[in-house]
Symmetry: C2
């Protein structure tokens, strides 16, 4: 008899662990227990199924050549037994058995194991909002949830949909719901959406959503949902007024599903996930955990965190499966990488934001580069805004954020790799990345951002973020805003209250630039402003800053014909 | 008086060095000497100007906001003096002076320097082929060369164009010339094009070019060019017959322009470029060199090399400019990164190919992953084939190659960063890269490739490249080719002589699979073949290989209705 491996959970980490264990141990008896009907489906693809971009739900649960990943597939192709519609109710660690119950028949059985892998995933958080039990107040987790959204949204049957929560799922769903012809209002309790980004970056995303007709209500608390006589939701009552709606998506967050593990007495980490070591082993050496239910170790923060992502789940599943099958493999932890698409904006980040680093007491500098993602002369070049965060003491890259119409994901993935290796921004600036006009500028935006970070660390450049500048302006600070672009660019749109001195004229017009006031120079990106700042430094000015990212990264009001 | 910095060369590294020096030293007197009219243009953009994709040559020499980078721009905006149409004729190292001559007036002058930066670039190699002086036999280096191509190609005036040389410029120009409505024949002396790639990868590119109507003649030597009565080329006489043509592009390679440096007694490296240390300093501490004329240090090979790329030139120019201005900066060397687009194929590589590693005596394994660049259910997913090369002894990633319709550049850039950091394939497999369906699979093709490499290094998987298999087939070796796909897939196109046993049936049909012969299993990518190989290993088979990359990476003939 082979080794008995039981896997609880059949969506992402579970099937991956089972398949890996099977490849390593051809004689093991491997069983997957899954409480739902469907297995091994692409949960991250649900918004695209709702939008109709993915037309058939089967596409989310078939192999690339169209074979359905059902119990028969697992049995025949993978040599793995699957019990679906079967709930694991108890883990008996002493007897090394899992008690399971068929959700249809109620029949129970005990599955003995040599090694157990827990992959019970995560669940949407249910906020204690009165009226959340009304019909048409939905969450999004399973394929069946997506089916309900499709039913409701079909044919524009819902003129107005409210999304409660401005996080990742809420943002992805704005595009999906808009694509179905419905209007969308996002309601977020915090002062801005996508708080995984620094405010100067998240405000750019907010602007893009607004430009696509999405209403974004920040600093707004949902008080209750109101229903009609049929028990269907008809309005969301918020701290900012009442919004008539016909459908609500509750997306205020996810939390790891750890009830079973907790009841079995396994250690739970501070972040709420099941504690695991780098072998994905829980506090019981015969039990592994992988995927959304397991705590992640974030090597940038140095602490445990919750990060429900299919990519991490698959990698962890592979490690758990290897170790359960008797091989040795380790999972090195996460960088906190996240990417999402919201309409035409690509958004990606990893590591620490300036805000997070500040909270952790880590002195950092940040650098923002704004540029086309390929040469401006190459058709299809699109702008990106890339922000790097570097630790002052070590010059190490510890965070990256990118937003824009262009390809930010490539730059963020390279930055993640550099962060993982502990590279300094100096090393990032020296990276010999590929170059050809269809793909990037000769000085890629990532290299430019790293060089800006170096200039700041070397004391050559002082930056000012858009949000800092806006706060100064709103506080009525007496500063000089110096637009060093051309008169045409200035005319087309400038920050209100700024003075035009084109870069070529700066050397000759120093008399117009005060020496006793704070000067913030800006241009389209920030290159000309940086050259202006160097000219002013050469002329003895000591209080000159460059607006990080220039107009390309400016999320606030502009004035035409200034 | 400020420090005197003279820069010879005004295209890429030169202007970058001058601009950087200016920013660091506001009082320096900085002069650029350029023998041609035009400055600071995007040489890498010339194929796209020839194809008409970039319509106006001005776009190649203006800033992103449309300002021409001419001597007036440099004087006014950058504070840099430019002498164009001025040839540097002698470097007098003793007197620290450069003698220059205006190419129009013949007037000479001597420019004193404290620091000199040589950025004289590279020139196309002129092969000693009889008839190369005929009209319509062109090279491509300057904007004026591109103008000549446009004149000749306009309105389909050249029905057939020969490209001599299957390297980077030749390949990029196949698309540009085809876009002008001309037929293209590529003539390459070696047995294949793009020898920077391993043959299994370069053959995929060749197939793609042929599918677009390009004629590719490999192992073919050009004997001479024949002209008509007007001195225009009319035919290329090759070792494989005579080809009637009306235009020829000679693109057999580039070589660094080092005459001036050599005459000044500066050390020249083994690769033919000017020797520089990591500060970009030549053998004369007051003279720097940067860009195509300077030897690169390749940190993968550990030797000097020639790599004429705008990205490297810009980085080196920045370092040379910093050091010339009295700051300290270093250039860490190159990974040999190269990218190009040929029709709809994206191609990128860095580090060592298997062929190069073998020549250097480094034992390696290679891993090929073939997969869509995003989930198969997401619209617009396109296939990529990615090859990783890892050193056996250290498990370090030392090479990467990617080709395909999908996004290979991102994966190669991440691999380059990992190589630069000295990561093992185990570390690459653990990278927490971004994940969302619009951008990648949950297990990205790079992670999959790294895991394949690990399986091979751990002795779990034995691979066989397409070219190895083809050689065995052609040698008439008695092997079993095992197609583990579905009957439909097999029917649609299989490797001739293969036997169909779908993966799900392998366990039950072991009797049909010989134990005493070499078995090569394959499927669409290589995942199912790998599972089949593990089933066979579990059943005691000892001579089973997996076809690297499967049918997605198979460049040879297939058979329908097998």
């Amino acid at each position: 008899m082979g080794k008995k491996i039981v896997v609880i959970g059949g969506v992402a980490a579970g099937p991956k662990a089972a398949a890996r264990a099977r490849r390593l141990d051809p004689t093991a008896e491997i069983t997957i227990v899954e409480k739902d009907e469907l297995l091994s489906y692409a949960g991250c693809g649900l918004p695209y199924y709702i939008s109709g971009m993915v037309q058939d739900r089967r596409q989310l649960m078939t192999t690339p050549v169209g074979v359905m990943r059902d119990p028969t597939f697992f049995a025949k192709v993978k040599g793995i037994k699957v019990l679906n519609r079967t709930m694991a109710t108890t883990i008996d660690r002493k007897a090394k058995e899992v008690e399971v119950r068929n959700v249809d028949t109620g029949a129970t059985q005990r599955l003995p194991y040599d090694k157990l892998i827990i992959a019970t995933g995560a669940e949407p958080v249910e906020p204690p909002i009165p009226g959340k039990e009304l019909e048409n107040v939905l969450q999004l987790k399973r394929v069946e949830d997506a089916d309900r959204f499709r039913e409701h949204l079909q044919g524009g049957a819902c003129p107005m949909v409210a999304i409660v929560g401005g996080g990742l799922i809420g943002m992805e769903m704005t595009e999906a719901i808009t694509a179905c012809g419905s209007g969308v209002t996002v309601i977020e309790m915090l002062p801005r959406v996508l708080t995984m980004l620094d405010p100067d970056m998240s405000l750019l995303v907010e602007n893009h959503m607004r430009s696509r007709g999405v209403k974004v209500l920040t600093s707004t608390r949902v008080e209750r949902f109101e229903g009609d006589e049929n028990g269907k939701v008809k309005a969301v009552v918020t701290s900012n007024g009442t919004i008539p709606v016909s459908l609500v998506l509750l997306a205020i967050g996810m939390r790891p599903n750890v009830t079973l593990a907790k009841e079995a007495g396994l250690l739970i980490g501070a972040s709420g996930g099941i504690y695991v070591n780098e072998y994905m082993q829980t506090s019981d050496p015969n039990i592994y955990a992988a995927g959304d239910c397991a705590e992640k170790s974030c090597f940038v923060r140095g602490t445990g965190c919750f990060l429900p992502l299919g990519s991490v789940a698959n990698k962890e599943g592979r490690v758990a499966g290897s170790n359960a099958a008797g091989h040795v493999d380790r999972f090195p932890g996460v960088a906190g990488a996240t990417a999402l698409k919201v309409f035409d904006y690509n958004i990606a980040r990893a590591g620490l934001s300036v805000q997070q680093a500040t909270e952790l007491g880590i002195p950092v500098i940040s650098a923002v580069a704004a540029s086309p993602d390929k040469p401006h002369y190459y058709p299809g070049a699109k702008p990106v805004v890339l922000k790097l965060i570097a630790e002052k003491a070590t010059r190490r890259l510890i965070g990256v954020e990118g937003v824009g119409l262009g390809d930010v994901v490539r730059r963020v993935d390279v930055a993640i790799t550099a962060m993982t290796a502990g590279m300094t921004v100096d090393q990032v600036a020296g990276l010999d990345l590929t170059y050809a006009p269809p793909y990037s500028e000769a000085m890629d935006v990532l290299i430019v951002a790293a060089n800006i970070a170096r200039n700041k660390l070397d004391g050559l450049m002082r930056g000012c973020t858009s949000t800092e500048l806006q706060a100064s302006r709103q506080a009525g600070e007496d500063l000089m805003l110096l637009d060093v672009r051309s008169p045409d660019e200035h005319q087309a749109g400038a920050i209100p209250g700024s003075t035009l001195v084109p870069l070529g004229a700066v050397r000759g017009r120093l008399a117009e630039i005060p020496r006793d006031r704070r000067v913030v120079a800006y241009c389209k990106s920030s290159l000309r402003a940086w050259e202006a700042a160097r000219i002013l430094a050469g002329a003895g000015y000591t209080n000159v800053e460059v607006l990080d990212g220039g107009m390309m990264a400016w999320p606030f009001e502009t004035q035409q014909g200034a």
